[in-house]
């Protein structure tokens, strides 16, 4: 494999250098971290590649029960990190273990997952449910936004001239669970769901529910979150969730699965993810 047309390969030492290189190429250069998506997409319009893995952005830090993860940290780097393993009872690591296979996780970075934000991917669904926040720098300075805001906007345009630097996962008093449906064990999702619950005095105090690969990218079901609060977890509630989700969540067809099937399974999927989150609360 050769990426056609590449004339220069740069090793950026810091964010400023990466930004100035980006601007010098006027759109004909790309930032390169793990490279998993870049090499596969085989864009023909690139002349420069800017490696950003040597800028000190590979780290995982615990902060007040949450995590700060450098954008070029590989998925393996997160999986092997003690703080990440402890975060929400291992929830985020549980998600990452279902993403691709080890040699790809050795390459793929969390920042790459945010920038590519494939609709069928598992990480965006989890980040949305967690309420992750991302930070990036461009020539104007540093910026921050929640992943939800980011992905609702023109994020691909933003990252043409910006360096994603950090992803922050907030602390939560509760438990999260993740479930996906796929064609085989090592596959992208045909539908996925991440849920979090806080339970106080036997009642749901807060809830976070995100569904992805519908086939659209993961997004929250805020109406369901509102409905859940104040209710008592249990089979009755899960049945109710199942029916409401089936009636209200918009799904459609792509070549991997039909809308009809997604419609039929989205209710059970959300219900079982919530149930597992509630069970984790019980275990804690």
């Amino acid at each position: 494999m050769r990426l056609r047309g590449i004339k220069r390969f740069h090793y950026a030492r810091d964010v400023e250098e990466a930004l100035s290189l980006l601007s010098a190429y006027q759109g004909r250069a790309a930032l390169l971290a793990g490279g998993v998506d870049l090499a596969r997409a085989a864009r023909g319009d690139l002349e420069g590649l800017i490696d950003i893995t040597g800028m000190g952005l590979s780290y995982v830090r615990e902060e007040g029960g949450g995590l700060r993860i450098g954008a070029t940290t590989t998925l393996t780097g997160i999986l092997e990190n003690k703080a990440a393993q402890g975060y929400l009872g291992g929830f985020f690591c549980e998600v990452l273990r279902q993403v691709a296979a080890p040699p790809l996780r050795n390459m793929a970075t969390l920042g790459g997952a945010v920038v590519s934000a494939h609709p069928w991917a598992d990480i965006p669904t989890a980040l949305v449910a967690l309420g992750a926040e991302v930070r990036w720098s461009d020539e104007k300075g540093e910026h921050r936004a929640s992943v939800e805001e980011l992905w609702q906007g023109q994020f691909r345009k933003i990252f043409r001239n910006a360096v994603l630097t950090e992803i922050r996962l907030p602390a939560w008093e509760g438990a999260f669970a993740f479930e996906k449906l796929s064609r085989s064990a090592c596959d992208i999702a045909l539908l996925n769901c991440a849920c979090g619950l806080g339970i106080e005095d036997g009642k749901i105090a807060w809830a976070r529910v995100a569904v992805g690969a519908t086939p659209r990218r993961g997004r929250r079901l805020t109406w369901l979150e509102d409905f859940l609060v104040g209710n008592q977890p249990g089979e009755g509630l899960w049945r109710e969730v199942r029916d409401r989700v089936e009636a209200q969540v918009e799904v459609s067809s792509d070549r991997r699965a039909s809308g009809a099937w997604r419609k039929a399974v989205v209710g059970p999927l959300v219900a079982r993810t919530l149930k597992r989150a509630a069970e984790k609360m019980g275990d804690a």
């Binding site: 050769r2 296979a101 064990a185 090592c186 699965a257 099937w261 039929a264």
Partner: protein, 775 residues
């Protein structure tokens, strides 16, 4: 179980010796096709049709030819037009001559339009982009039904194609084999059931795609180093396609990265050779993964309808089988795969006096189907064994009982053996070894059949079930396909074994060495195996039809026996005793009478240097008069998520009778690998096409073959029988394993949730739809 107490003790056969090519493979030595770098090599690339069906009005290559680094561009306008088949089969091939190096017409998205040879891959790709082709797009058909409809476009309207059954109606091949009186058979039956099962486009996906290097040796002869299962057929077909005398071509098969049938086809060698001839330079070609999916070969998608009539006691009385096969744009293996749907399945249940097997292989504007492990039997068994399950239910019989009542036994025959051969009539044959009864017993025990079958287990949303199926295959093609072997003794008592047989990862080099070593009384290490080189090794049809162990193995056995005879003769002179009194073992010739001995090394030196010097050597050939079937009983346990339709195969047990396994671990490996491919067929594998015939998932990201996490616990049991006609009692094992998973899993799903899955793969979507419809 047939206890073979009298079987001769063997010292090499039946042992898990180290694979003869094992060390080089675990070290990653440069033994594969593309692992050689020849100076001055050009890269060949093919321009593919963007249309499913079109005439080429004009091709303008001027811009591409002007590109620096482009050496040559070939298309229909500048090559000779010679019809041939890409199917690597014995001559004359039973497949139609409906292919050309380049044609004026394209018949599927991905068909060949032109080929470029250039200094680098980048230049070649750029040149492809610069070729201007004007097409006249024709109406296209994407299913046998459309292709057979009145007024359908004629896909092969060229006048110079031959061997097509009915080109005007897009019928590449047809079969119609009646035995007895099928209508009477059904009317005399107490119970009649029918099942129609369908298999989509699926692909072999060897991890090494098709690749080939064509170059010239010091004398200017064309050498084709290629990833093929059929080196001798490559030589013959390339000679024909390019109008070359055969002696000008040498084909070498190095190590190859899997085949499973797709490399029984000439898909790159002809183009690479043509480019090399035109440029006088070495040319390397390799399919991208996308090309491998679309432009190599696929399994024949097929719909098979089976109707069974049985007496109340379960005895089958009538079997009708109708197959509608989609051969795609060309008729490679169209007739023979179709024939095998019946010929490899119907003899299994030989009790029914009334049979009717009929079907058509139909051209469509989709990728070209070809040989794929199982070769029609896989398609046939899916329908047959699902129908048997249904019949068992209707009769209130256990599925195993129903099989036991009906399956063929040693000493029995089936009229099908004689009626259906390889594109012509077959040969009558009596089955001489069959341990299926024991396989059924062992498999049932291992899976816990009777207790699991008696109750359906349900835990929450998960429903559990067990299912089973049986299958047989053959061992080579009777009366047609030949294998030959040459064995030469070196003066130090070691040997060279030269075989045309083609090891495509199966381990046949090892197995053939074991057979020779056993006869010659030496360890395998003393035998140097050289295989699959049309200049240096004797003829062999190659690796297909489950033939190597049985056919090539018998040739090796015969050659080794002759070499042993020659050795004993020389030793007799040295020991001054008659050869009858001598025995060969442990690298020694020992007198049974006097105990005197000479070593093989001494014999070798004697024959080479001392007295009456001559080369101790022999060549032997074998054409099988019979094709003894291996038998397998398959059992599996599945869990079905009733909310989502997700199916998990939790356990798989296969008990197989392949006669005496020459190398048990390799035999197990064949079975395990075939089962996993079958599980892929059952659960995920399907090529998808747009309404214009473009493949939508020609990559390993969206075409899911099983990974290590998708494979359940698989137990394989080799139940020994002794095949009296086989080398050391051996039969084949390579293909039979792929015939079971589809029906066994479908039957297990039925047991779990009461719905029959008759369209593969059993995706969550299809399972859930079936549950909502019938559950």
């Amino acid at each position: 179980m047939e206890v073979v107490a009298e079987r001769k003790r063997t010292s090499v056969v039946g042992k898990n010796v180290r694979k003869v090519d094992g060390v080089v493979l675990v070290c990653g030595r440069p033994k594969f096709t593309l692992d050689v770098d020849l100076p001055g090599t050009l890269v060949g690339k093919i321009l593919h049709s963007p249309h499913a069906h079109a005439e080429i009005v004009s091709i303008d290559t001027s811009k591409a030819e002007a590109l620096p680094g482009v050496a040559c561009i070939l298309h229909h306008g500048n090559v000779e037009r010679i019809p041939y088949t890409t199917a690597g089969q014995g001559w004359p091939e039973p497949s139609p001559y409906d292919s050309f190096l380049f044609d004026r017409k394209v018949r599927f998205v991905g068909d060949r339009v032109a080929a470029v040879a250039a200094e680098s891959e980048e230049v070649a790709e750029e040149a492809l982009r610069l070729i201007r082709v004007e097409y006249k797009v024709l109406p296209a058909v994407f299913s046998p039904e459309e292709a057979l409809a009145d007024g359908a476009p004629v896909i092969h309207d060229e006048e110079d194609a031959t061997g097509i059954h009915d080109a005007q109606h897009n019928i590449a091949a047809a079969v119609d084999i009646p035995v007895g009186d099928i209508e009477r058979g059904f009317s005399e039956s107490d119970v009649v059931v029918e099942a129609t099962c369908e298999i989509p486009y699926s692909q072999h996906t060897p991890i090494e795609p098709h690749c080939t290097v064509a170059y010239f040796d010091e004398e200017g002869r064309l050498v084709i180093r290629t990833s093929t299962q059929v080196p001798f057929h490559v030589r013959r077909i390339v000679a024909r396609a390019l109008g070359l005398p055969m002696e000008r071509i040498r084909v070498i098969k190095p190590r190859i990265g899997g085949g499973f049938g797709t490399k029984q086809e000439i898909v790159l060698e002809d183009v690479a050779a043509a480019l090399a001839l035109r440029t006088g330079r070495p040319v390397v070609m390799v399919y991208t993964r996308e090309e491998e999916f679309v432009c190599a070969r696929t399994r024949h998608p097929m719909r098979v309808r089976v109707k069974l009539g049985a007496k109340k006691d379960g005895t089958l009385h009538a079997i009708e089988m109708e197959a509608t096969s989609n051969t795609g744009a060309y008729g490679a293996h169209a007739l023979t795969v179709l024939s095998n749907v019946g010929s490899k399945t119907l003899p299994l249940y030989n009790k029914a006096p009334h049979l009717h097997f009929h079907g058509k292989a139909v051209y469509t504007n989709l990728p070209v189907a070809g040989a794929y492990r199982g070769y029609g039997a896989t398609q046939g068994y899916f329908a047959l064994e699902v129908a048997m399950d249904e019949l068992a239910e209707r009769l209130g019989m256990d599925p195993i009982e129903l099989r036991l009542k009906n399956h063929i036994r040693a000493g029995e025959t089936s009229p099908i053996f004689e009626k259906i051969g390889e594109g012509r009539e077959g040969k009558p044959m009596v089955v001489r070894s069959c341990a299926l009864e024991e396989c059924l017993k062992v498999g049932a025990e291992r899976i816990g059949w009777y207790e699991k079958r008696s109750r359906r287990r349900r835990e929450g949303r998960w429903a559990y079930g067990v299912g089973m199926a049986c299958a047989m295959q053959g061992s080579g093609i009777t009366g047609i396909d030949m294998g030959a072997a040459t064995i030469l003794m070196n003066e130090d008592g070691s040997f060279r074994l030269l075989v045309g047989a083609t090891d495509l990862g199966t381990g046949s080099d090892t197995i053939l060495a074991q057979i020779a070593a056993e006869v010659l009384g030496v360890p395998v290490e003393r035998i140097v195996v050289y295989s699959s080189d049309t200049d240096l090794t004797p003829f062999d049809v190659g690796a297909y039809a489950s033939s190597t162990t049985y056919v090539s193995g018998t040739a090796v056995l015969k050659a080794a026996e002759e070499v042993r005879r020659q050795i004993l003769e020389v030793a007799a002179g040295m020991l001054e005793e008659p050869p009858e009194d001598l025995e060969l073992s442990g690298e020694q010739v020992v007198s049974k009478k006097t105990g005197k001995s000479v070593s093989l090394s001494e014999v070798g030196h004697q024959a080479t240097y001392v007295v009456d010097q001559h080369q101790i050597a022999a060549t032997a050939s074998f054409v099988p008069p019979e094709s003894p079937p291996p038998f397998t009983a398959f059992f599996c346990e599945v869990a079905v998520d009733t909310e989502t339709g997700v199916v998990r195969v939790q356990r798989f047990v296969a008990a197989a009778d392949c006669g005496v396994p020459i190398h048990p671990k390799l035999a197990e490996g064949q079975l395990e690998g075939a089962i996993v491919q079958g599980i892929g067929h059952a659960l995920t594998e399907e090529l998808l096409f747009s309404d214009k015939g473009r493949c939508l998932n020609a990559n390993l990201f969206d075409y899911k073959i099983p990974s290590s996490l998708d494979v359940p616990h698989i137990e394989v049991v080799l139940v020994k029988s002794e095949e009296p006609t086989g080398p050391f009692g051996a039969k084949s094992i390579a293909e039979v394993g792929i015939n079971g998973p589809l029906p066994a899993i479908s039957n297990a799903i039925y047991h779990a949730v009461g719905v029959r899955l008759k369209r593969a793969p059993f995706t969550p979507e299809r399972v859930l739809a079936a549950l909502h419809r019938d559950g």
